[in-house]
Symmetry: C2
Subunit: 409 residues, 2 copies
Amino acid sequence: MAGPLPVSPLALPLPVLPPLKGVRMATAEAGIRYKGRTDVLLAEFAEGTTVAGVFTKNLCPGAPVTWCREVLEGGLARGLVVNAGNANVFTGAAGVRAVEETAHAAATTLGTKADRIFLASTGVIGEPLPAHKIVAVMDDLKAKLAEDRFTEAAHAILTTDTFAKGATRTAVIDGVEVRINGIAKGSGMIAPDMATMLSFIFTDAAIPAPVLQAMLAKSVDSTFNCVTVDSDTSTSDTVLLFATGQAGNTPTDVPGHLADFRRALHEVMHDLALMVARDGEGAQKLVTINVEGAVSHASAKRIAMAIANSPLVKTAVAGEDANWGRIVMAVGKAGEPADRDKLGVAVGGVWMAQAGGVVPGYDETPVVQHMKGREIEITVDIGLGEGRATVWTCDLTHGYIDINGSYRS
Amino acid sequence: MAGPLPVSPLALPLPVLPPLKGVRMATAEAGIRYKGRTDVLLAEFAEGTTVAGVFTKNLCPGAPVTWCREVLEGGLARGLVVNAGNANVFTGAAGVRAVEETAHAAATTLGTKADRIFLASTGVIGEPLPAHKIVAVMDDLKAKLAEDRFTEAAHAILTTDTFAKGATRTAVIDGVEVRINGIAKGSGMIAPDMATMLSFIFTDAAIPAPVLQAMLAKSVDSTFNCVTVDSDTSTSDTVLLFATGQAGNTPTDVPGHLADFRRALHEVMHDLALMVARDGEGAQKLVTINVEGAVSHASAKRIAMAIANSPLVKTAVAGEDANWGRIVMAVGKAGEPADRDKLGVAVGGVWMAQAGGVVPGYDETPVVQHMKGREIEITVDIGLGEGRATVWTCDLTHGYIDINGSYRS
């Protein structure tokens, strides 16, 4: 591709992410692929920081994902290294060596063991990661570590993203206020050789690792795992949640005590997930798809994803066409229980079809108007049960073809 | 869309389809949606004609599919009515009435019962089918019935297709030569409101309906069901095979006696299926995807379809980029057994990656040359077993967005 991509028309400004006790970060220009921008992030966590992680379901994951899965078993983190420009995927034994080299260098730098270091890489697939370039900037990174570096961090991890993504919330645990900051990158499930969904979430709360893991996994299901740009699953998708325990709350695993934290965590993840959809490659419209009346929530989600991944639905949205025929087609291809003669379809809150046919006297005017907007809402009533789900996607435009159909340069 | 689409650069000429004993056909301009072209086909079959059918797996099928599934139980056919321009899908009770009206009119015209009449409709979804327009041309159709009308039939059933599709073969059953003619239409699994995959195959052989059904279903699996344009499944996909029994062979169900017929039938279906891929919406390149070394044939096919349906693989082909990183990603997202470190990927017969990494000394030159051609071949070795499959697709181009992203007009 020639030149930077234009900023998505759906972009949101990066909020101010306040400092967070127990997290210090620094970024550097390692020159892995990009020139004239930061491409490496180092984060240092306070002693005792617990960690949770959720990774790609792709069966050909990158070497950093394999590393994280292993060290996650310890439940403790002291450091995180993220690089952009090279995904270290499908790189064989050299990829494993690059991971080990990076982890050991970071461990030495931070005075800890390698199995307390988490890693993520995003960028080109199939090219060896020059770990020595990361190692070379490690001392510089250490010297620059500071608490107030979330904005820099949000920028250093980007690839084909057109805007930096972050979210912040506070919550109260047993009377103590804690903060959650999250950053993310991603603009396709995987993109023009480089892109992937990465998210790093930080909190100063004290929460045992198994509790943290359960909360993270639950919220991933209804946030990041409900976003699709092109149905393609990156080999590097990673969400990590670090809890430094510096806020002063007593560590707890009593569900009731964590209700407010769970709410705040979910909101941070929900914000970040929607930002990924808003930065979908070539996206001109953000599409929210609600499915209700399915036989179960899981069934509703599968139907919603079938609609969200249908090229014909996505091109119809790009063309501002409220084409409910294509939506019905997508419901039918999902393979989930559905009855043609009970289906209803609404766009922008207006029911176009109900009980298997066009609504009598249906007036297209408000729907046509809705389709011209930036945020499109599609609701499908399956008419069989109580299952419901909401997923988010973007439209499929010439921009997607431009970005992904151009030769690697 | 304004104006006709340009003919696919992958188009093949329509072969001469010789007359076939026991099949008479006629076409007419019913004006259902299109003007100045034929849009209805009537076929009359000799008494005793057996029939087999395979239909869409979409759970929201059109009314004609529901009709065909029911009358297929009788195993006998006297007539077929196909219309283009309106799919009679998601049309509720009106759709069922349109089907009955058409079937009864054709039955009266041909002097048979309605449950011997097969129907297929393709075109816009969600608009009532004006069956009276079909009924109005029925006498005219009857008057024009003739044996030598395959070319006209291949044209009358088209929607967004850019070329007519047909194939013919002969086979020998117990020393008697029989002929098989097939026609098809389809350019997306479902298209800009109108399109679908329909195929009608005719033979003068005498073959019992259950035997016919088994042969048709088996060949569909490795032909029509191995073609994907955009992963979307039409609500109307229909393949019907009619055997008039006029060639003079003795009806047989001895598998050995039907080997040559099975070969010829498979070839006809294979030709037609590839023509559908060649007419994929916006297609500039025909892509053959071979998967070998999977744990089973079924597993190989699922992996091959994951590659064929990946927007990132399809845009890479459009960009003439032999991007094996995206192919590996697609293998991994298929959810089938695969081991990153055993994978191999070849393009145009040249192995780019083997055993989980780039082939040492890999020379890109012949691959770059291959990617510039019209017919692209991708082979993936999973390295785990003996399972293999081949599927066909086309690239994903700006043409697809143009065709599917324009407002219904």
